[in-house]
C-alpha cells in the first residue's frame, strides 16, 4: 500500500524528529524500538517503585544511570505533563505511588516540581483512581483537564478535535503513563491510546479498531512533538475484558516498562497481552478481529517501532 506524504504527514514527522533532537546524541545512540523493563510486584512498597521506574527508564535509554537518563530526557525549562490513564478506576490504573516515583525522577532532572503536572481527563477520575488533587503550591501538581480545551478544532489525519490546552499550550514535554490492558475495540490500551484522553471527542473514534485515529492523535505535533517518555505500570495487567476493570481478565505481570519510543512501548504491551492470552488458550486479538492495527499505523507514520519481533527489550 502506498502512502502519499501530505503536508500534515510532514508536520507530524517533523514533530517526531523534534523528539529525537531533544533526546540528544546519547539517546539517539540507543536506537528506537528499545523497551526497558523492571520487576515490580502488584503490591510493592514505595521504595520499590522508585527503583523500578529508574531501572526501566535507564534500561530503555542505555544510559549508565537513571539520573543521566532523566537528564537526557528533560531540561530545567520544561513543563512536564504526565498523562495517566485512570479509566480502569482504582484497580486498573497507574498506581499513584509509581507516578509519584516518576515525578521525583523528573524533578531530579532539574524540573521544578511546580512545573510537573499529573493529569487526566477529569479531576474526578484522578480522585477515583487514588490520586490527590493539587492545583497549586510548591509540590508537583495533579488535576484534570475537565473542560479546558482549545476553542477551535484542529485536524490531524482523520481526527478533528479540540485538544486539551494542557498539551497544546501548557506543557513542553509529555509522558504517557498507562497500564497494560486489553481493549474491546482497540485491542490494546497502553501508552498510545492514553492520548485519546486529551481530545474532546474520543467517542467519535472507536470504529475500525481505533485505526488510524490513535496514531493520528499521537502524530499531532502537540503530542508527537512533545512526548519524551512512555511508562507502563504492569504490576497487574489485563488480558481480557478491557478497557474497564474486569476481574476475570486480570493477571499479575509484575513489571514496569519504559521507552522513549511510544510505539515500541505499545508493541511490548501487545506482546504481554497476547502471551497471557496464549497461556490461557485464548485466541489472539487478530482472531477476535481487534488486533491493535493503530500500532502499525503509528509505525508507518514514523513514530516508532511497531514490529513486535523488532523490539529490543532490556530487562533485569
Amino acid at each position: 500500500m502506498t502512502h502519499r506524504l501530505t503536508r500534515r504527514d510532514l508536520a507530524a514527522l517533523l514533530g517526531a524528529g523534534a523528539v529525537s533532537r531533544v533526546l540528544g546524541a546519547s539517546q539517539a545512540r540507543s536506537g528506537r524500538g528499545r523497551v526497558g523493563t523492571a520487576e515490580i510486584p502488584p503490591h510493592a512498597r514505595p521504595a520499590a517503585f522508585s527503583r523500578a521506574v529508574g531501572d526501566a527508564v535507564r534500561r530503555s535509554t542505555g544510559m549508565d544511570t537513571a539520573e543521566a537518563a532523566f537528564r537526557g530526557l528533560f531540561g530545567r525549562r520544561d513543563t512536564v505533563g504526565i498523562k495517566v490513564n485512570c479509566l480502569g478506576g482504582p484497580r486498573m490504573s497507574p498506581r499513584p505511588a509509581l507516578v509519584e516515583a516518576l515525578v521525583e525522577w523528573v524533578a531530579g532532572a532539574g524540573v521544578e516540581r511546580s512545573r510537573i503536572i499529573v493529569f487526566e481527563r477529569s479531576s474526578r477520575e484522578l480522585e477515583t483512581a487514588g490520586f490527590t488533587l493539587r492545583k497549586k503550591g510548591g509540590a508537583s501538581l495533579c488535576y484534570g483537564i475537565d473542560n479546558d480545551y482549545d476553542r477551535a478544532p484542529t485536524v490531524t489525519g482523520k481526527v478533528a478535535s479540540c485538544f486539551a490546552r494542557m498539551v497544546s499550550t501548557t506543557c513542553t514535554a509529555l509522558i504517557s503513563v498507562g497500564v497494560v490492558k486489553d481493549h474491546d475495540f482497540a485491542g490494546v490500551s497502553a501508552g498510545l491510546k492514553n492520548w485519546y484522553g486529551v481530545i474532546h471527542n474520543p467517542n467519535k473514534y472507536h470504529d475500525s479498531n481505533c485505526d488510524p485515529y490513535v496514531a493520528d492523535v499521537v502524530r499531532h505535533p502537540w503530542i508527537g512533538g512533545k512526548m519524551r517518555l512512555t511508562v507502563l505500570d504492569g504490576g497487574r495487567a489485563q488480558y481480557q475484558g478491557g478497557p474497564a476493570f474486569a476481574n476475570r481478565g486480570v493477571f499479575d505481570l509484575g513489571m514496569v516498562a519504559a521507552s522513549h519510543d511510544p510505539v515500541a512501548a505499545d508493541a511490548w504491551a501487545w506482546r504481554m497481552v497476547e502471551e497471557e492470552r496464549a497461556r490461557r488458550a485464548l485466541g489472539t486479538l487478530e482472531d477476535e478481529k481487534r488486533a491493535p492495527r493503530f500500532i502499525q499505523t503509528a509505525s508507518r507514520y514514523g513514530l516508532g517501532v511497531g514490529d513486535v519481533k523488532a523490539l529490543k527489550v532490556v530487562g533485569a
Binding site: R124, P153, D184, H200, N203, H206, D207, G241
Partner: protein, 377 residues
C-alpha cells in the same frame, strides 16, 4: 450530590426567568459547567439497546449500531455503558433553550408566524464537517453548560413564553430520544405541538414509536450520494431515505432541508435526482428547502453558496414537479414565499424568519381555492 425536587424547581425557576435573555445575562447558573459533576446526576436507563456478553451493549437507536464496552460511550457521547447497563446521560439536561419563530427551524407549512420553544442537549450521532452548532453537537454533556429542565418544566416555560410548539433541535434529537419522547407527551397534555428537527439518522423502530407523538418532523437530507455521507458526515444515506418514507407513511408532517455546499453537493444534476426521489417516494407536496452554506467548523475553506447556485437547484426541483420549494439563508428572496401551485399567487410572504403576510384561508388559496398541505391551525 443527588438532585432533589427543590434543586430542580429552583433551577427551573431560574431558567424560566431567563430563557429569553442572552445566556450571559441569565440568573440561573448551569448545573453542568457549574458546580455539579455529570456523574452526580441521576442517569436514566436508555431505550433501544440490548445487552451482550462481557458487559458490552449494542445500541439500537441509530444506524451507527454502536457496540459499547463497559465504561465507554457510544459515538454520540451521551449514552454510557455502566456495568453492562446502557444509560442516557442527557434526559432533561438541556444545553440550549430559546423561543424561536417556527420559520427558523425551518417549518414553512406549520403554524406560520408562531413560536416554538426550542431545546437541545449536547451530542450528535454523526459528525458533519459543516455543522453550525458543533460547539454543542460535537461535545459531551459534561463539556457544555447545561440546565436541568425535565419535560414538565420545559412545557411550563413554553406556555409562559407564549409558544404554541416545542422543538427538539440545534444538536441531534435522536441522541436524546427519551427526552424528546417524554417532552412530547408532556407538550401534548397541555395542547402544545411537538416538533423535531433532525438529521434523520435513526433506526426505524424508535422513529416509528415517537412519530405518533409529534406534529411535524424536519429532516436534513445532506446529499443524495453515499460518498458525501461517508466523507462529510461519517454516516450513510440509505437509512435517511428509509426514515423519510417512514415519516411520510406515518402521516406526520414532513419538511426537508438540503444545505447546498459549493463543490460538494450543489450540482444541478443532484438537485434533479433529489427532486425526482422526493416526488417519487414522498410525493410532490413535501416542502424542500435549499439553504445557503456559510463557512464553519471544518469547512472554513469553502465560500458561501452563491445565490445563483441556490436558484439553479430551486428551479430544477420546481421543474421536476415539486410544489413547494424554498430557499433559506437568503433573506428577502422570493424563494422564501409560499406560492400556490394552482394559480401562482403568493400565499405567505416571508422575509427571513418573519411572516409579513399570510393570505391562506382555511388552509386554502383564497384565489383559486386549492388546498395547501400543512398544519395551519
Amino acid at each position: 450530590m443527588s438532585l432533589n425536587r427543590r434543586d430542580a424547581l429552583g433551577l427551573c425557576a431560574g431558567m424560566a426567568a431567563g430563557c429569553l435573555l442572552p445566556r450571559a445575562a441569565r440568573g440561573a447558573k448551569p448545573i453542568i459547567g457549574g458546580s455539579v459533576d455529570l456523574q452526580d446526576l441521576p442517569a436514566r436507563e436508555a431505550s433501544w439497546y440490548k445487552k451482550l456478553e462481557h458487559l458490552k451493549v449494542e445500541c439500537g437507536l441509530c444506524p451507527q449500531e454502536c457496540i459499547v464496552a463497559d465504561a465507554e460511550r457510544g459515538t454520540c457521547g451521551v449514552r454510557e455503558n455502566r456495568g453492562g447497563t446502557y444509560y442516557t446521560l442527557v434526559h432533561g439536561l438541556a444545553c440550549s433553550v430559546h423561543v424561536d419563530p417556527v420559520e427558523k427551524k425551518p417549518f414553512f407549512h406549520v403554524l406560520p408566524g408562531e413560536k416554538a420553544l426550542s431545546y437541545a442537549t449536547a451530542g450528535c450521532n454523526v459528525e458533519c464537517k459543516f455543522c453550525q452548532n458543533w460547539e454543542i453537537s460535537q461535545f459531551r454533556p459534561e463539556q457544555v453548560a447545561s440546565w436541568y429542565l425535565p419535560p414538565d418544566a420545559l412545557v411550563r416555560i413554553a406556555r409562559q413564553q407564549g409558544a404554541t410548539m416545542t422543538a427538539a433541535t440545534y444538536s441531534e434529537p435522536t441522541v436524546f430520544w427519551e427526552y424528546v419522547r417524554d417532552a412530547a407527551v408532556a407538550a401534548r397534555k397541555v395542547g402544545l405541538r411537538p416538533l423535531v428537527v433532525s438529521n434523520g439518522y435513526i433506526k426505524p423502530e424508535p422513529l416509528r414509536e415517537v412519530l405518533p407523538l409529534l406534529e411535524a418532523y424536519k429532516v436534513d437530507l445532506k446529499a443524495m450520494t453515499e460518498d458525501f455521507y461517508v466523507k462529510q458526515i461519517r454516516g450513510h444515506l440509505k437509512p435517511v431515505l428509509e426514515g423519510l418514507e417512514i415519516i411520510k407513511k406515518a402521516g406526520t408532517w414532513l419538511e426537508i432541508v438540503v444545505l447546498l455546499i459549493p463543490g460538494l453537493n450543489d450540482s444541478e444534476a443532484e438537485a434533479v435526482r433529489l427532486a425526482r426521489w422526493v416526488k417519487g417516494h414522498l410525493g410532490p407536496d413535501v416542502p424542500v428547502h435549499f439553504t445557503r452554506f456559510h463557512p464553519t467548523y471544518l469547512l472554513k475553506n469553502l465560500p458561501p453558496t452563491p445565490v445563483a447556485t441556490l436558484e439553479r437547484s430551486w428551479s430544477a426541483a420546481r421543474a421536476e414537479g415539486l410544489n413547494f420549494v424554498y430557499l433559506g439563508n437568503v433573506p428577502g428572496h422570493r424563494g422564501e414565499n409560499t406560492v400556490c401551485p394552482g394559480c401562482d399567487q403568493v400565499l405567505i410572504h416571508r422575509v427571513g424568519f418573519s411572516v409579513l403576510k399570510n393570505r391562506l384561508k382555511g388552509g386554502a388559496c383564497p384565489n383559486c381555492g386549492r388546498k395547501i398541505p400543512g398544519v395551519w391551525s
